[in-house]
Symmetry: none
Amino acid sequence: MIAHKVLFLVLDGISDRPCEALNGLTPLAAARTPVLDRIAAEGVCGIMDSIGPGIRPGSDTSHLSLLGYPPQEYYTGRGPLEAEGTGIHMTAGMIGFRCNFATVDANGLITDRRAGRISGTEPLAEAIREGVDLSALGLAFRFESGAGHRAALALVGEGLGDKVSSNDPKNEGVRPPAVQPCTDDPADKKTADACNEFIRQSAEILFDHPANVRRVEEGLPPGNLLLIRGAGKMGAFPQFPERYGLSGSVISAATLISGIGKVVGLEHIPVPGTTGSTNSDLDAKVRAAIAELGRKDFVLMNIKGADEAGHDGKGIQKRDFIEVIDKALEPLLDLEDTLLVVCADHSTPCAIKDHSADPVPIVIRGPGVRVDRTVRFDEVSCAEGGLHRIRGCDLMPIALDLINKSHKYGA
Amino acid sequence: MIAHKVLFLVLDGISDRPCEALNGLTPLAAARTPVLDRIAAEGVCGIMDSIGPGIRPGSDTSHLSLLGYPPQEYYTGRGPLEAEGTGIHMTAGMIGFRCNFATVDANGLITDRRAGRISGTEPLAEAIREGVDLSALGLAFRFESGAGHRAALALVGEGLGDKVSSNDPKNEGVRPPAVQPCTDDPADKKTADACNEFIRQSAEILFDHPANVRRVEEGLPPGNLLLIRGAGKMGAFPQFPERYGLSGSVISAATLISGIGKVVGLEHIPVPGTTGSTNSDLDAKVRAAIAELGRKDFVLMNIKGADEAGHDGKGIQKRDFIEVIDKALEPLLDLEDTLLVVCADHSTPCAIKDHSADPVPIVIRGPGVRVDRTVRFDEVSCAEGGLHRIRGCDLMPIALDLINKSHKYGA
């Protein structure tokens, strides 16, 4: 029997190092995970370097790698991926940025880099789209509000570079610096000029926007300045369906991940109630993934909460949320005709509160898989499995081969 | 907890193949090694191809690889590294050579390629430095005596090539050939001419040097000719402290290894009583390493005697010396705040009396490491460990990540 469908379940940052708070176990090893363990027992396990041994991945570079787009070749910064995830359709040559709504005081000093974690900024975004005009620079732009204080910007036009600095000083109580070109290339100067003009015009619009006036009256910091960063030039991505012969969807509350899915040609399936945090409706997410597998050949689902606990350095909370995830995954045990791949995109050790290059556990379960003797889904147990140590970029070729969609090299 | 220091302990050539003299065990598997076994039990184990599977490494290329300088990119022959280790400060473009003091008879035939393993050659070296003059060729030179019959030469000037033959016939009873350019490149001809002139002038000086006259009177072979080989053009090495953000030292009695350390920017710490052989004062070496870890972030320590036994094909002697090494390592068990990496640079199987490409055992022990179930430090046991099979060039990235000094790729 050969499966016809593939589900990549990426448990974001679930992988860790031994935690003191857990008697030297990792959160995954300390957690009670009967569902993940059964998947491990029924599959072939291993460890995986998302990019390469010792290379500490971002979520963006690791997901690109897992999807078979080596970041060394395809990664051009977070901006274009975030912009795509926020709803801007990015095409090759556009310059994408991540933005924050921030607060500046009457003296031009930044008092809150996230404008009191403002939300509901769509009216502000609409005013910017209507009011800002870059045509004097020969350029157009796209601007979309995102979750909370977040937004995305894309510059559209000829001869734009992506080597520019940010106006985000990463500090409060200081004046935001101008965006500067990082090279002598006139393309970078053009982008920097456009950024500064966009920031200037948008600040004027935001300053006395009714929504901000209301916030001030309520004693809340207004979102009256945009901080923009992560400039990157959108590249050309060979589209997933043509490249692999598989239709596909991405299910992720994180705009960065849904953005990556969209740029490679996966359909983004929003799931109400999912948050990318530990309060996410995981049952809804798992139901959505199973439903998508009815319509599509390939689904990438990212579950993010464990990563958050890792970034916060909370080992016990991470362990507990892993148990919540495990319960939610139970319906996946009944998947038929599906190659199920469970892995992390990177480790997020509580001890360092950030991503690390430690390899992640992985299991592949489905028809045709050579089941090994591993019966536990954790970092040390999976390292004893039959997959040994693979790289993120090996994953798509292995999955394609297991569903008989690989191309013979030679005769 | 995260370690802040790194110790690379390279047990030179300790890795082997099954030995008939040891009932089919390797010397490492046959040896009683409670200290190494405890390190293995407390760490994560694996096997490592210093350069790549099936690539048979030299000590120089393997150490470059372990330090994160891929030899394919950085290796330009043994000469420049030996020259640096012998005390010549090599800068980019200089041509380095290894030299032997040898003995020729009145007919110009080589009677001893090592001049009776002459030692104390510094007066001879000084006479050469004072007497030889290459200015007619527009060149300067550096010459330093090394351990025993060894010495090093560097040519300094514009337009020098490194594709030249040696005047060492590798045989006795024959006349040394002239150094020849190996290509039509005038730069190689210039180097060959300089070598021949250097050999001619130095032979004149050595012939009636008082130290040699005395040796002849004592019935000892005089060091009256220099054999030079291993030509290589010194390259530009990005310096270790800037590259990795770590200060570092190298502890090795072998000039080749200390030379490699010095060219990449490690401080060479000489340790009295160490010889690079089985009579070395290993306790002093281990004490020196521990002291260096108090001053520096990174220490590379090479212990060489087991390699020598391998080259001699003496399995039992190799096993016994491994037990001596193991005892000397005991103080390392108390290292705190230190990531300890124990490995070999290459295998030196007694059966072939030379280096082989068999992967070497490796263990990484320290805070944050995912301890596996391996409890024995030998070739077969480590192959079952949680690191699986890595490459020499993976080692620095992995170590940097474990001490939280890696750079995130992406966001």
